[in-house]
Amino acid sequence: MTIDRRSLLAGASAGAALIAAPALVRAQGAGPIKVGEINSYTAQPAFLKPYRQGWELALEQINAAGGALGRKIETIFRDDGGKPEDAVRHAGDLINAEKVDLLSGGFLSNVGLAIADFAAQNKRLYVASEPLSDAVVWAKGNRYTFRLRPSTYMQAAMLVEEAAKLPAKKWALVAPNYEYGQSGVKWFKELLKKAKPDVEFVAEQFPALGRIDAGATVQALEASKPDAIFNVTFGADLSNFVRQGNTRGLFEGRAVVSMLTGEPEYLDPLGAEAPVGWIVTGYPHADIQTPEHVKFRDAYKAKFNDYPRLGSVVGFDTMNSIAAGLAKAGSTDNEKLVDAMKGLKFPSAFGQAEYRAIDHQSTLGAFVGKTAVKDGKGVMVDWRYADGAKYLPSDAEVKTLRPAG
């Protein structure tokens, strides 16, 4: 099923305008609806520059179609510099000084958690776009926080499905030494053991984020003689790991399963040295031909003269989901908005997705496929779209994982 985003928005805002009646709209103020968007723009520019561009594209389209609730939407961007305490300061400033209607953003998990806790304390909607930590919606989940991207758990589950099909018995694991890496490894081990009880894990490496000693790490993994490798490193760590691994033959005759490696942000810098045959989650931007994606990609290319990265999709979808939430709520009242977000179906560049009422996690999925090199560039082949809804634990389990209900 496909929904044309523009017509949906036009219809929704028209509907909202009808129901809300002009008097009510005026009562809420005829000025723009303000979104306070906090992110690590300077600390993580590789992801967040495309993110901001995707966001601006969506914003432009929404406002061209009349905005939401008959009002334009305006964004106030703030840079947290990668520090949770600065993110909280911005959040306070955005609510009190800028009078924003809701908050969004967050790249690092701890920043996302800090804003989420602040949002709960101040009873303000927070749409966490990127932070992958499971705690955002489960252990530390709260009424006011919703998360767009497939979580660490979901990405691991998607990969375990493929990993379980491999004949490999002995696995070595490498992950950056922080929450994302640790929980990626934890879920992978747990889920793979469940799917294939006879696997063993022979080596674990946790290089410090951004500081991998690639040669030594590769050698340590090699020494454990695994059948297969599970990788969670990304960015510069990944590039260094791949280069040393290629030269030292770590990947020869071994299956490699790798989180996020198919995302253009991390695959493109590798150029012709991109690994071949790794099973990855990612975003094959050039090959997805669904109508909603083609439309998104064409508009993005026309506006920025560049191809979209995964960050672009996340920014684009976050903004669209906010607009859809506003339209459904018919108000900027945060309690109504939160109720509207529960079970909200919204259009995304990957097709329709939904913020689950049970844990506020969106069902946006990811693409699972294999890496290959084409024309001197890394690409994804044999990919399929893994719908996020299928890679979450049962409702009963979610209820135990999420004390907030």
């Binding site: 400033d93 958690l113 960015g235």
Partner: protein
């Protein structure tokens, strides 16, 4: 197993070479100019970026294109070193040592944004070196030939440096200046030229280190800071100013990394800092370093005598306090939030000033005590179920106890070595918070540390913070003018004389260290309740640097300096962060300009201005002090 040990040794040696190139440059620069160049990591990063651009332009497949690009990149970075030295550092050689550190930190911020603007946010994976693309079989493992080449580069550069320093006139001058700079100047050597050339040479080594990483590492915007912290460790472990020591230390650290990940894969974060702490405790001047000639005191002008504020200043302070007390009546909520944060930072800065100004102990790791205060509060709330009031009382003691323990080791050192040991302890505290996930929640931190109901409102919490911080700052001020404070300053200005009149200098410094830690803990605990959460970033290096910047901007010489510095710095960075995405450039530029224009800090500058205005004769007391040194 033997194969693995041998291969890991080679891996360690290969990493050591690049570390050594950068560290030797830093060490040489420090030896001559006494500047701890924070921007050295940035020069390394620029070397890598420039090499990437040049090698791509010249053609990476040709040996001439590749090596030509690498060498040219190193030379260009050397040229940039000249620019930095002439434009910035030359103007501030007379400023106190830490001021120069501050200026180079400003340069770091500017170069970060320049690199982002020039090369874009994406990582650049460079080409492999022609002729060294493949591997050889060593000990049954494939080992990259380029890594072998790197292993050779380290000792080769060491040899070249040795020849340069032993056999050329320039090298002799550099060695002479490292030992006694004033004497070299007195003998008629052109110091300007010597300093510029040394800085350019050190920069070039950093650039070469970066350029040689091209086939090995993806060039990225985080290279600068991750390199500089590692290089500081190498230089300090090796002994500042000693090139051979730098090589030994680089090998030690490289090998430690390679084996550390085999034995303790999870504590690589802290391993190097543990080693640095051990080395500094056992050998206070590093493996090959020598105690500086003529005492560890810097070359800056003598500290003016710290006098209690006169009536006018006291009146100004009182008015400022009154304004702060009345602020909630008129200020909107968001201004109150900002003010609360500034007031907390003012206490944090004042606590650092207490050990830095009167105590003469500059700390690079003061955030540790701020963070421990914050964690103390959060842990009390989370694990003991305490409410805000007991948590606020408990938290500073955690920081104070850490101050007592760490301080015991730190006061045995002085100058940069003391600063580096505080840094090492701060990193160990940080790594503990980061790594001990069961207790501290790891990098996800501890959430839900909100104040008691009566202090939840913005005004309520503001008054709570203001009250506690003002009292604590006044207490610190009182201590500075108490017998303890006078003894502390005596120990700073002339340890020998102080000892001679029966003061136990080390013990006094130890007490001051603990007091400063305790006060920082109070600020940290307030900060935790203000933000509602705590994270390891509270005690990371940037927070320590923030504290230093606040104190130095305000001026070390006065008691009011750090408070004003905190308001100026935190206010400035907040406004810049809001105004532009390139806030780091703006902040860096402001810091550099402030350092050049006000080399004694904001308050110091205004005092000088006032002195000039009133044209009072030099106070007799000050002359006596200057004469007595």
């Amino acid at each position: 197993m033997v194969d693995l040990i041998l291969t890991q040794t080679l891996n360690g040696l290969a990493s050591a070479s690049s570390l050594f190139l950068v560290a030797s440059g830093l060490s040489i620069i420090f030896g001559v100019t006494r500047i701890v160049n924070f921007a050295h990591g940035s020069l390394y990063m620029l070397g890598a970026y420039l090499a990437w651009t040049l090698v791509s332009a010249f053609g990476a497949a040709e040996p001439l294109g590749f090596w030509g690009g690498v060498v040219l990149a190193a030379l260009l970075v050397g040229l940039l070193g000249v620019v930095i030295e002439v434009l910035v550092l030359r103007r501030i050689y007379q400023a106190p040592e830490l001021f120069q550190l501050l200026a180079t930190f400003g340069v770091v911020l500017m170069l970060q944004d320049l690199a982002l603007a020039t090369w874009g946010p994406e990582d650049k994976l460079g080409p492999r070196a022609p002729g060294l693309k493949s591997f050889v079989i060593l000990f049954d493992n494939r080992f990259p030939t380029y890594e072998l080449f790197l292993i050779a580069v380290g000792p080769l550069v060491l040899l070249i440096l040795w020849l340069l320093f032993q056999k050329t006139r320039w090298g002799t001058l550099v060695r002479a200046a490292t030992q006694d700079r004033e004497m070299v100047g007195a003998l008629g050597v052109n110091q300007r030229l010597l300093f510029t050339s040394v800085f350019a040479f050190g920069s070039m080594l950093a650039g070469l280190g970066g350029a040689l990483q091209l086939p090995r590492e993806a060039v990225n915007l985080h290279m600068d800071l991750s390199m500089i912290s590692e290089v500081f460790v190498v230089v300090v472990v090796g002994g500042l100013g000693s090139v051979t020591g730098a090589y030994l230390a680089a090998v030690l650290i490289g090998i430690l990394h390679a084996f550390g990940i085999l034995i303790f894969p999870k504590i690589t974060l802290v391993l190097v800092f543990l080693v640095m702490a051990v080395v500094l405790v056992v050998k206070p001047y590093g493996l090959m370093g020598k105690a500086p000639i003529g005492g560890a005191r810097g070359h800056g002008p003598a500290e003016p005598l710290l006098l209690p504020a006169d009536k006018l200043t006291k009146l100004a302070g009182l008015i400022a306090l009154l304004l702060l007390v009345l602020a909630p009546l008129v200020a909107p909520d968001h201004i109150l939030l900002t003010l609360t944060e500034l007031v907390i930072f003012a206490l944090f800065a004042a606590s650092l000033h207490f050990m830095m100004g009167p105590g003469g102990m500059a700390s690079f790791g003061h955030a540790a005590y701020f963070g421990l205060g914050a964690y103390g509060a959060a842990l009390a709330v989370k694990w003991l179920g305490a409410s805000m009031e007991p948590a606020l009382i408990f938290a500073p003691f955690l920081a104070g106890i850490a101050g007592v323990v760490f301080g015991w080791f730190c006061v045995r050192l002085s100058g940069v070595y003391l600063a580096m040991l505080t840094l090492a302890f701060a990193q160990i505290a940080w790594a503990t918070a980061f790594q001990w996930v069961e207790l501290t929640g790891g990098d996800n931190g501890i959430l839900g540390v909100w104040p008691s109901a009566w202090a939840v409102s913005k005004t309520g919490f503001y008054y709570l913070a203001l009250g506690i911080c003002v009292l604590a700052i006044l207490a610190l001020r009182l201590t500075i003018f108490s017998p303890l404070g006078y003894a502390l300053r005596a120990g700073r200005d002339n340890p020998l004389r102080a000892e001679a009149i029966g003061l136990d200098v080390m013990r006094i410094q130890w007490v001051a260290f603990a007091v400063a830690a305790f006060a920082a803990g109070i600020a940290g605990a307030l900060f935790a309740f203000f933000k509602g959460s705590v994270f390891p970033t509270y005690m990371a290096i940037p927070r320590s640097v923030d504290a230093l910047l606040m104190v130095l901007l305000g001026g070390v010489q006065t008691v009011a300096g750090p408070v004003i510095g905190a308001f100026a710095y935190a206010g400035l960075s907040e406004q810049l962060m809001k105004a532009t995405m390139y806030w780091r450039f703006g902040l860096g530029l402001s810091i550099v300009l402030l350092v050049i224009l006000f080399p004694r800090g904001l308050v110091g500058a205004s005092l000088m201005l006032r002195e000039r205005w009133t044209r009072r004769p030099e106070p007799a007391a000050r002359v006596a002090v200057e004469g007595g040194r």
